[in-house]
Symmetry: C2
Subunit: 215 residues, 2 copies
């Protein structure tokens, strides 16, 4: 191998490295994982790691950025399979329920990173804020399309509260609770045909975390 590395080799190494870093940092926390553990998990020489990312902070930021891209893409793909604009907003919570139920779920990687490094690393703080802004903007777009632009803030706060609570309690139930609250708000804010009666879909909320009716 001594002979310059190909672009492709570097690209692959970068992905492997980010894979290992993302898994370890999310599982155990960023400060709790040393660069040597990242090296062992990625099976890459330390020298190459530092050529790809000059500091640990750079690695953390790159990891958060890639995760943000994938996270929002997964959400969007899932939610936009739902045709009805109103149901789309609620589908966000079904997607959250699926996420919460994943084996290694440990809350929001960005909120966790903020708790660890928000006060000491401006770069990480900026990345966290950027992610939250993007998520909120996406929700606002869907709320607008559903004719309930004023509900965007509440939907965002309910989603954030659900993620935090599910992460701490280790229980996916908050997704359902947040969904119910969002459904009630949507029924109220959008034009409702009959007083005090919700449109169909919200009250039929089957057991498991992802109801059949909407998603």
């Amino acid at each position: 191998m001594p002979a310059p590395l190909t672009e492709e080799q570097n690209r692959r190494a970068r992905e492997d490295l980010l894979d290992a870093a993302e898994r370890l940092f999310y599982e155990r926390g960023i400060q709790a994982v040393g660069m040597d553990q990242v090296r062992a998990a990625s099976d890459l020489p330390l020298k190459r790691i530092y050529r790809l990312f000059p500091t640990k902070e750079d690695l953390v930021v790159a990891m958060l950025r890639r995760r943000d891209r994938r996270w929002r893409e997964s959400l969007t793909v899932s939610v936009e399979q739902v045709a009805d604009p109103r149901a789309r907003v609620l589908a966000v919570f079904d997607w959250l329920a699926g996420w919460f139920a994943e084996p290694g779920f440990r809350g929001c990687a960005w909120i966790n990173a903020h708790g660890e490094l928000g006060s000491s690393s401006p770069a990480v703080l900026a990345e966290v804020r950027s992610h939250k802004r993007a998520f909120r903007a996406q929700l606002a777009e869907w709320a607008l399309a559903a004719g309930v632009p004023a509900a965007a803030d509440a939907v965002f706060l309910l989603a954030e509260g659900a993620v935090v609570t599910a992460g701490i309690a280790g229980d996916p139930a908050p997704a359902r609770q947040a969904r119910s609250a969002a459904a009630a708000l949507l029924a109220q804010q959008g034009g409702v045909q009959q007083c005090g009666v919700q449109q169909g879909g919200e009250t039929t909320d089957p057991s498991g975390s992802a109801p059949a009716s909407i998603s």
Copy 2:
């Protein structure tokens, strides 16, 4: 001073120590603050610190526990000055708004601690869960008294989302947004006289932070 320390001296030292630890840990993060910095800030010999709390983890747990007691007491005192049970639930968000606007506000100490140590320290995790359970239970009690027990989950999730969001964005606005959403849910869930019109109490909002409309 060589001659056993008074009970009173130990009590005072313990409080001073917890004061210093709470301030430093909240400002900069727990892992980012070394015991030597705690020693310097508390102006106590390291030996005495370790006699009061055998490990850093013990100090962290004690700090979180004392903060929990004070935090919930402050909330309760503030909220229970409001007479109307329905308005009480909304007063939670007014109290949050005041908290968010405090100079050093940096989000929820328990959520931050969870992000840092939740996966490595069972004692800290238990303390965080205990705090969240207690907060939720208090909200459920107020929701029940207001005749809207079903709103407890939503109020809790809105509050959690507001705390996290305000902490990350460094902006107290989420308190207002969460309050509005809660007001809408309360108006809907409790018996409402006229369709789409809220009962009195939610819209008349003392002090600063809560607008009249839903937005």
